[in-house]
């Protein structure tokens, strides 16, 4: 039995990446649900630099940053490999994984956007769609011939983007708008449908209503904090 503990937030796309990876590898672990408003002393000790989740603790040693954790797990447990073997393919995978972080930064404002303010809303949506367009048109890994970025099976790029598109879908539900339009992004749309239906992912994809509710709560708390300052 491996001594694995995961400190995370069930609703965070970053935590999801690690959960999916652990499940894909068939690894048992202790899940420690953190409270973003009251982080545990262990978390702050394990991640003193950023004080963020997820943190994987393996045999008492912490690993931080979701995609660094995913690579770590993949290196130690090679079953159902997620990182390509060929150095050039690995470099391509790492490039697109890094791009998924840019996507996150562009999507996050949708938690707090004032949907009544059309101009602000359009600006945020435009930024996200520009990034989605780059993936749709420029990512050679996203092929009409292949089901996933990883080919026949999901890999590290699928996990990186899957978590971010799930997060985007939550923002769409929260604000009752459509960003990942099927007419504009047919490949991404089709890929995400395939991704959601992978059995490990399906079993470990948080419920849409629950995701929407938690984001609403986070938004309300931030607004309360801002109005009281």
């Amino acid at each position: 039995m491996e001594d694995l503990k995961l400190h995370g937030f069930w609703y965070s796309p970053f935590t999801m990446r690690v959960v999916w990876t652990l499940k894909l590898k068939g690894l048992a672990y202790e899940n420690i649900e953190e409270d973003r408003y009251n982080k545990s002393p262990q978390l702050l000790e394990y991640n003193p630099v950023h004080k963020k989740t997820p943190v994987l603790v393996h045999g008492g040693k912490p690993i931080c940053e979701s995609m660094i954790i995913v690579q770590y797990i993949d290196e130690l447990w090679p079953q159902n490999p997620l990182v390509p073997h060929d150095p050039y393919d690995r470099a391509q995978a790492r490039f697109w994984v890094a791009y998924s972080e840019q996507l996150f930064s562009a999507v996050v404002p949708l938690i707090y956007v004032d949907i009544a303010d059309d101009e602000e809303k359009e600006k945020v949506i435009e930024k996200v769609q520009k990034l989605l367009k780059d993936i749709e048109d420029q990512c050679v890994l996203l092929d009409d011939e292949k089901k996933f970025f990883g080919g026949d099976n999901i890999n590290i790029v699928d996990i990186a983007f899957g978590s971010m598109i799930k997060f985007l879908v939550t923002m769409e539900d929260l604000n009752k708008l459509k960003v990942l339009e099927v007419e504009k992004f047919p490949r991404l749309h089709s890929w995400f449908d395939n991704f959601k239906n992978v059995s490990i992912i399906k079993e470990n994809l948080p419920n849409r209503e629950k995701m929407c509710a938690i984001m609403k709560y986070i938004r309300e708390r931030k607004r309360e904090l801002q109005s009281s300052n």
Binding site: E65, I69, Y88, R90, A91, F95, A98, Q138
Partner: protein, 222 residues
């Protein structure tokens, strides 16, 4: 049998710390390459073709295929030319730590440093504080080790050392003494500069300073 060196091209911009990382890695591995300087006012069609997403240097072109993002390129170099010296540790845990600090350096050093030499005047004191905080964090990680990698120069050292060519600029334009705050880090800098791969890849700090002055004149304060 080594890898074919005849088709390795680096698209670079000489003051870029990110470009310097790649040069150091290539030097460490003894890889010969062609270095092409880009002009940011007029990016070459090759750059736009090889990095259509970000349109930024460095780009390593190996046998006609592009690899972008400096630390990504460093990992690629380490894997393709996998003879010693190794840049990334072989132990998975140590590797995860190296990647963590590479990521930290990427997220903080350039942006905080830029605010010091080219930031708004009224934010100068706060910018300096943030920049020093970041360097202190890195000095703490270095601890008593000769290099971030331990006894051997490695990935994290490659990630950080190029920014030291900018220290004179930060100090002069920011009016601060980096050594006063992080003496161990400055000691590490001198140790790294004794390595040929580093000395050959970093421009003289005064040339960086001249570049920074011209840049500020042309673009104004940001």
């Amino acid at each position: 049998m080594g890898e074919d060196n005849s088709n390795v091209v680096l698209l670079d911009f000489w003051p870029s710390s990110y470009g310097m990382r790649v040069k150091i890695a290539l030097q460490e591995k003894g890889v010969s390459y062609e270095c092409r300087q880009e002009d940011f006012e007029a990016k070459s069609s090759l750059l736009l073709e090889m990095n259509p997403i970000h349109k930024m240097i460095p780009v390593l072109i190996h046998n006609g295929k592009p690899i972008c993002e400096s630390l990504n390129i460093v990992e690629y170099i380490d894997e393709v030319w996998n003879h010693k010296p190794s840049l990334l540790p072989s132990d998975p845990y140590k590797r995860s730590q190296a990647r963590f600090w590479g990521n930290y350096i990427d997220k903080n050093v350039y942006s905080r440093g830029k605010k010091v030499w080219n930031g708004k005047v009224e934010e100068k004191e706060e910018s300096k504080k943030q920049f020093i905080e970041c360097l202190k964090m890195l000095e703490e990680e270095l601890g008593e080790k000769p290099y971030f990698g331990g006894d051997e120069f490695g990935y994290v050292d490659v990630a950080l050392v190029p920014f030291t060519s900018w220290f004179y600029t930060y100090e002069t334009l920011g009016n601060l003494s980096i050594e006063a705050f992080v003496p161990k880090l400055v000691g590490w800098t001198k140790r790294c500069m004794e390595k040929q791969s580093v000395a050959k890849s970093l421009p003289h700090p005064h040339n960086i300073y001249d570049f920074a002055l011209k840049y500020r004149e042309a673009h104004g304060y940001e």
